[in-house]
Symmetry: C2
Subunit: 129 residues, 2 copies
């Protein structure tokens, strides 16, 4: 169980997103686990092909998002399941994301991604939910 391998997969994910690399995302998405994605402000999308279609729509729509991933934290839920929590810094917004990875034939693959709005700096807002 190697944290750096998970972080590497997480970086590959963001590289593919920033480059609008649908083939890269297809390669990274799990073929055995259930796949899902929750883009900020969107409803949940379920299913491998449907998830890829959301990225295609994004790339063909506004274009690949210019974002920088930071503050990654890896948590293991077993030897072959991990989640990464990280920030996503866009030009005009900050997001925070959960990325779920599974070890599949020796490689970490993405099963699920949720991103939502985060405060621009670290102070915590007074209210929520």
């Amino acid at each position: 169980v190697s944290e750096s391998d998970v972080l590497s997969a997480n970086r590959s994910f963001y590289r593919a997103v920033v480059e609008g690399d649908l083939t890269g995302l297809d390669e990274l998405l799990s073929r055995k686990a259930p796949c899902a994605v929750i883009h900020p402000g969107w409803p949940a999308t379920h299913g491998r092909e449907e998830v890829l279609e959301t990225w295609l729509g994004i790339f063909e729509g506004g274009g690949p998002p210019k974002l920088r991933c930071d503050d990654e934290r890896v948590g293991f839920l077993g030897p072959d399941v991990a989640f990464v929590i990280c920030g996503e810094q866009l030009e005009d917004a900050s997001l925070v994301a959960t990325n779920l990875f599974v070890l599949e034939d020796g490689a970490w693959k993405l099963a699920h991604h949720q991103a939502g709005p985060a405060p621009p700096a670290s102070p915590r807002p007074a209210s929520l939910h």
Copy 2:
């Protein structure tokens, strides 16, 4: 591996939240997996005690949120790891959440929860990210 057991744990989670039941949340939170939470608009919070403190802050602040969970979908990432994606309907907002569960001594326990804004109805917005 039983989907209904995971759904039952997910319902227990929301019951505890709605009832402001910190003891119930303490009972439900994993003691072996890394714990984290991302409340809507908040930065990520890491650590079991820190996660419980965020809920205490919410309960003591605005009070327990009046929400109804709907549209639950369970995905298994192995025999003892599952994620639930579901909606959270509040009085004046819709959220969508990812809840990570691990099977611990025969019971499903919560490791991580992220909730973020969702569109009120099902149509997907034209832009994102």
